[in-house]
């Protein structure tokens, strides 16, 4: 059995996979990686199942020691990873010698990096998933963020892992963007034309009050509809709700499963991983698109991610 020892955990490092959809009726949030595309690619690079358990490292990295070595891949935000002091290639598989020390620094661009090991971390599953849900303290490693001294186990495969890199064309197509595409939310029609106009054209700044539950945005207030108090209903990932004070909130992976604020729009499927990469003080805008376009883009992306021959060089 191989191990990873947490020498320093960084700001917020948790175990995540692709989450646990399907338990809405008992109040369980799907959770899962905030950038599921980066998590899938990190796993595929080291020969794991795409939805295996990996580390999600937020804004500021930590230091991890591998006494028995292993093979790792780091994807997502660039936290300037180094291996024993030397820069480590991101979006690629990297062999680690026994005793290797991996260090990640502060983010250069986006919010979250993913670290996968060949063989995948072994943690107890909760409702079929390894994802940590911090609000309820369930899943992942003891239901919490990693701390100094924690030891994670993984069983490295006996064979050598082939060196792989994510292809440049795929990296370009996944590039974070500051214009997120949205479709109309269920209450879009209740907002005034002026409010919808403002939503479509103004710039929003991601505030410090942003985490896996949601991103709170700062902008001139969007006027809520007269009948702003809707009856509490289920909410979808990437829904953009407007509070009575006119603040926009994009719901994230750890979202509460229900809510009573009107939703003006919803980020489309293929841009959801980009929501997970937004960090405070970044300015974004929204661009309206149709359900048909959103669906076609989603199908194309899924086809690409499921056909490994085009992913790597």
């Amino acid at each position: 059995m191989n191990s990873l020892i947490v020498k320093s955990p960084g700001l917020l490092t948790t175990i995540q996979d692709l989450g646990r959809p399907g338990y809405g009726a008992i109040g369980v949030s799907p959770a899962g990686a905030a950038d599921p595309v980066a998590l899938r690619l990190a796993n595929l690079l080291v020969g794991n199942e795409p939805g295996a358990a990996a580390l999600e490292i937020t804004l500021l990295g930590g230091t991890f020691v591998f006494p028995e070595g292993g093979t790792v891949a780091i994807t997502g935000a660039n936290l300037s990873p180094t291996l024993d002091g030397q820069p480590l290639e991101m979006w690629a598989s990297n062999p680690l010698p026994p005793g290797a020390e991996l260090t990640l620094g502060p983010t250069k661009n986006y919010a979250r990096a993913y670290l996968a090991v060949a063989g995948a971390f072994q943690v107890k599953l909760f409702l079929g998933s390894a994802s940590t849900h911090l609000l309820s303290g369930t899943g992942g490693f003891e239901g919490r963020a990693l701390r100094k001294g924690d030891i994670l186990r993984f069983s490295a495969p006996p064979h050598k892992i082939q060196k792989r890199r994510v292809s440049q064309s795929l990296l370009t197509s996944l590039k974070p963007r500051k214009v997120l595409r949205v479709t109309d939310g269920p209450q879009a029609g209740q907002f005034s034309p002026e409010a919808r106009e403002a939503f479509a054209h103004q710039t929003f700044r991601v505030t410090e009050e942003s985490d896996r539950l949601g991103l709170r945005l700062e902008a001139p207030p969007i006027l809520s509809p007269e009948s702003a108090n809707i009856i509490t209903e289920g909410v979808s990932l990437g829904a953009i709700q407007i509070t009575p004070a006119g603040q926009a909130i994009i719901l994230g992976v750890d979202q509460q499963t229900t809510g009573g604020y009107p939703k003006i729009a919803n980020v489309i499927g293929i841009d959801l991983h980009r929501v997970g990469q937004l960090r405070p003080r970044i300015d974004i805008r929204f661009e309206r698109t149709s359900f048909a376009v959103a669906r076609a883009l989603w199908i194309e992306r899924e086809r690409l991610l499921n056909s490994t021959e085009h992913l790597f060089t």
Partner: protein, 224 residues
């Protein structure tokens, strides 16, 4: 029935436009039927007072197909016979030290604390749905005599087992989480336990009764 796209991968299905037991009965029936016979594209169902949010696999189906399938389900659901609802009793200690907002709630309604307790324990509640956190059941309807709005500023941490009220709803916090409901007591029971069957103490559609217990009984039950 009204069907409305919520995102490129989900729809909201409204079975009524008001909070009522009759509408909720239709929500429950459709939920049970979807759980019993889930279409291959179904990813998640989130029931609420009068709606279900349905998440689907967009690689398999589009909104139109989901809507037409759901309409067929809704028709079948009409003749679906529900099992009789369970009654769940929740022991609650309403002592001041476990009920930080009880006195204020009483004062706001010109009542004594013991009147609030009497009113809270005097009727059965219907579990409309679970949301917010695993096992958190929205229960209604609270007596108008003690209905109280949420706190202006939510607490950063509410102890697990806390019994809260907000508007005409009441609920128990399964985990220590942030929370804005007014806390009027605490139960020693675990509202959600992985590995238990079912994991949630209160399920959607249950009848719930609160029973007042002493501090001593609370400690005894808590140590079990």
């Amino acid at each position: 029935m009204r069907c409305c796209a919520a995102s490129d991968q989900s729809v909201l299905l409204y079975l009524g436009e008001e909070i009522s037991l009759a509408t909720h009965e239709r929500v429950l029936k459709l939920l049970r039927l979807l759980q019993k016979d889930p279409p291959a594209w179904l990813r998640n169902v989130q029931p609420a007072y009068c709606s279900l949010m349905i998440t689907f696999d967009a690689c398999r189906v589009d909104h139109a197909e989901v809507e037409s399938t759901l309409r067929q389900f809704e028709q079948r659901a009409e003749s679906f016979r529900q099992p009789k609802s369970r009654t769940v009793e929740i022991p609650v200690c309403y002592d001041a030290e476990l009920a930080p907002d009880l006195e204020e709630v009483a004062r706001a309604h010109n009542l004594k604390s013991k009147d609030v307790v009497r009113l809270h324990t005097s009727r059965p509640y219907h579990a409309y749905f679970l949301g917010f956190a695993p096992g958190f059941a929205y229960l209604g309807d609270l007596s108008d005599q003690i209905a109280t709005p949420r706190l202006d500023v939510p607490r950063k941490k509410v102890p697990a087992g806390s019994v809260g009220i907000a508007g005409k709803q009441t609920a128990v916090y399964p985990f220590s989480t942030p929370g804005g409901w007014r806390l009027i007591g605490r139960t020693p029971l675990a509202l959600f336990q992985a590995g238990r069957k079912p994991m949630e103490l209160i399920s959607i559609g249950d009848q719930v009764r609160f029973r007042s217990i002493s501090r001593k009984e609370f400690s005894q039950l808590a140590s079990v």
